[in-house]
């Protein structure tokens, strides 16, 4: 049986992309899998009694070493902010390529805590900072120093001791350019070094909290139970900075989505499902309920989605237990078709992710295809003609071509870069200044404009001639020729319309990171949790691949 890949016109809609969930393809899970046989070490832990100072952690294999350098600093409560405009953080981190010399640690001590206004070198790979969840951190210190384990209910509600507010890589602020490291096999997967940084930061937060508690009451203090550590992750506050990334990297976006789609297609094409695979799938679906019921948010938008998801997952479990027979041919195809008919988008994508759990052999080869050599597709094939371009637009942007951009509502928003923080922002075109400095992220509008300009032209006119008088649309001509080869490279929606929910764009990216518990704080930023439930560094050699779906705190 041949199952078709799903239609990009459906999958690339923002409501669908904003319903994606983590899976075996997610970067934090593929990072753990890649680095499980690397040697983990805490090389330096030089903190004072209050937990301020320097620490270094490393992963090593053969001659290759990656070292996380942590700088924990004292800040006042009124200086602590998760906004990107903050200038001080409880801790700042960089991932250094190799073993840092004393000189490196001193050089970086002056730069890393400054973050965006500091300067890194080609020897540093990623950069980040994080703030304590003061309520949780203080409670854990207090409990441990009195010889008790902390209140699990509080920990479950928050899920972490620290929150990062940005993780930078790929040449930002002087960090190493991607080309310097792109041939290393161990990082042949997107964002692998960013994932490593966050993972090691998580360990630092446990070591720091233990250290402070121990110093506060050396006689009575106990260490945080490893079982509790495992069920804590790292929080993250994410704003609009992530959204333009997925528009600006079309081939990369394609490769992420295409890998997911190929995995689904192959799973739907499995004729006979082995009992152990069926059992694993069903276990994961059932165990995953705790990920939904422990998903805390005050966002009405998200609460509604969670409620729908929970209802649909319960309905699905009932269907699996009482109506469905895995003995029939192509059972996952049947399941998929049932989901499409009976459940919401959030549930469809949730179960699609879980379908991958038994099939590491299908997923693993796809992970290596999730990067992209974007440079290869930059040049516009200008020897092609207007007729070719019209056809591409009609075939690949059929939904977008139907949008009426003459209405105010479909043009309401514009993307710009803020002057004070050089971060992407979104504003109302009719209420705010700056629309003349709009970023080229209104792809749907510009594609439609391109189509309208092509319509009266002769089909045999060459693109190089068209571009001479139409250079204002050059950026979308390039994209159109990219989507011809990469069907999932474009969001099939209006990114400037009045109904845009920007966090859908963030959620898409965060799901590929492997984030859990999306907690929208507005329509423009959200909090998430990463690595919650993941093995600790000293457990990596032999861990349960389905850790995401294992029960967490035993309350």
């Amino acid at each position: 049986m041949n199952v078709e890949l799903r239609d990009p016109n459906i999958i690339m809609k923002l409501t669908r992309l904003g319903s994606f969930h983590q899976s075996r393809l997610s970067f934090l899970r593929s990072f753990l899998s890649e680095f499980k046989d690397w040697k983990y070490k805490r090389d330096l832990f030089d903190l004072d009694q209050e937990g301020y100072g320097t620490a270094v952690y490393s992963f090593k294999k053969n001659a290759r070493v990656y070292s996380l350098i942590c700088y924990a600093n004292k800040i006042n409560d009124d200086e602590r902010s998760d906004r990107v405009i903050a200038t001080k953080w409880d801790a700042a981190f960089t991932l250094h390529d190799g073993v840092p010399l004393k000189d490196d640690i001193e050089r970086l001590r002056n730069e890393v805590p400054k973050q965006e206004v500091g300067r890194l070198s080609y020897k540093e790979l990623t950069l980040s900072r994080a703030n304590k969840s003061v309520r949780v951190f203080d409670h854990v210190v207090e409990s441990l120093s009195n010889g008790n384990q902390p209140n699990l209910e509080l920990l479950e509600k928050v899920g972490y001791l620290y929150r990062t507010t940005a993780v930078y890589g790929s040449g930002k602020f002087g960090l190493a350019d991607r080309f310097r490291i792109q041939n290393r096999e161990e990082i042949n997967g997107p964002f692998r070094l960013e994932m490593m940084l966050v993972y090691l930061v998580r360990q630092f937060t446990f070591d720091q909290v233990n250290h402070v508690a121990q110093n506060r009451n050396p006689k009575l203090a106990v260490k945080l139970d490893p079982e509790i550590c495992r069920n804590l992750g790292i929080g993250n506050s994410t704003g609009l900075g992530m959204a333009p990334f997925i528009v600006n990297h079309p081939t990369l976006l394609n490769n992420w989505i295409l890998s997911r789609e190929i995995a689904l297609k192959k799973i739907r094409e499995i004729k006979i499902v082995k009992t152990k695979d069926k059992d694993l799938f069903k276990d994961c679906v059932k165990n995953s309920l705790k990920n939904i019921t422990s998903w805390n948010t005050e966002s009405e938008y998200q609460l509604k989605k969670i409620k729908l998801l929970l209802n649909d997952i319960r309905k699905f479990i009932n269907f699996l237990d009482n109506e469905f027979n895995f003995q029939k041919d192509y059972p996952f195809n049947e399941i998929y078709l049932w989901l499409e008919k009976e459940t919401c988008e959030e549930c469809i994508e949730y179960v699609v992710s879980i379908m991958m759990e038994p099939y590491g052999d299908i997923v693993r080869p796809l992970i290596g295809q999730m990067s992209s050599e974007e440079e290869k597709y930059f040049n516009i094939p200008t020897e092609r003609n207007v007729g070719d371009l019209k056809k591409i637009l009609e075939n690949k942007y059929s939904y977008i071509l139907k949008i009426n951009f003459k209405t105010k509502g479909s043009n309401q928003k514009f993307w710009f870069i803020s002057k004070n923080k050089e971060e992407p922002r979104l504003a109302n075109r009719f209420e705010e200044n700056g629309a003349d400095l709009e970023q080229p992220l209104a792809i749907a509008r510009d594609i439609k404009k391109l189509y309208e300009r092509l319509l009266p032209l002769k089909d045999n006119l060459k693109i190089n001639q068209f571009l001479i008088e139409n250079s204002d649309l050059r950026h979308v001509v390039r994209r159109a020729f990219i989507i011809e080869k990469f069907p999932y490279s474009e969001i099939q929606d209006n990114t400037i319309g009045e109904n845009l929910v920007p966090i859908d764009m963030l959620r898409l990216k965060l799901s590929f990171f492997g984030a859990l518990k999306f907690d929208p704080r507005s329509d423009k930023w959200l909090r998430i949790c990463m690595f919650q439930g993941a093995p600790l560094p000293n457990e990596l050699k032999d861990y349960d691949e389905q850790w995401v779906y294992k029960p967490s705190f035993k309350l």
């Binding site: 002087g174 190493a176 040049n379 020897e383 693109i463 190089n464 001479i468 250079s471 649309l473 950026h475």
Partner: protein, 203 residues
């Protein structure tokens, strides 16, 4: 040190601010990155050009011909560069072309370098005393390494080089003969077992 990623992003944004479309600004970002990667002062010349552009007009070459002359203002290297990439397959058929009165010729170089990769031919560029050999966008050789490159080229010549060897037949034969010393003489029995042995090829 600035990373190439920072160089590309800043050049792109500055180009948009200088009045080019986003699509052209993307091309400039990519080209300045190449220029700096190959060790040429792309950022310096781009900055000077954009400062100058505020005060002066520059002529745009839209369709590239064998001889391109401007009797008025000097030509804009950015528009020429972008059109060169777009039209390179046509321009190649001219074998050689020239541009008179070109502002900031260094800014044209990375575009030509990218053109060399697109058509798979080396390009030879000369203006004033400066000579450059563009090798498929893999490298640029120059007799002007580390010297001040002029801000105006009175006449720039662009030649498309045929794909020919850089060495003589004699040099090749001599080296090949030496390479043959790594081969082993095959016995008759080994020849009988080699691929295709024992079959007729007209089956």
């Amino acid at each position: 040190m600035k990373s190439l990623s920072e160089i590309e992003t800043t050049a792109k944004r500055a180009s948009r601010a200088a009045g080019y479309s986003w699509g052209i600004a993307e091309e400039v970002g990519k080209s300045i990155r190449i220029s700096e990667l190959f060790g040429f002062p792309g950022i310096k010349h781009l900055n000077q050009y954009y400062q100058n552009k505020k005060k002066k007009n520059f002529e745009e070459i839209k369709l590239i011909n064998k001889i391109n002359k401007s009797d008025g203002p000097s030509f804009c290297p950015i528009i020429l560069g972008v059109n060169f990439i777009d039209q390179v397959k046509n321009v190649e058929t001219l074998t050689k072309c020239s541009v008179e009165n070109l502002a900031y010729p260094l800014l044209l170089l990375p575009f030509l370098s990218r053109g060399s990769e697109i058509i798979g031919k080396k390009l030879f560029i000369s203006f004033d005393d400066c000579k450059f050999l563009l090798n498929f966008n893999v490298s640029i050789s120059s007799n002007f390494w580390n010297k001040e490159i002029p801000m105006l080229a009175n006449q720039i010549e662009i030649s498309f080089l045929n794909n020919e060897d850089n060495f003589s037949d004699q040099d090749w034969k001599s080296l090949y003969k030496l390479a043959e010393d790594t081969f082993v003489e095959e016995t008759d029995s080994l020849k009988e077992g080699a691929a295709g042995a024992g079959l007729t090829d007209n089956d």
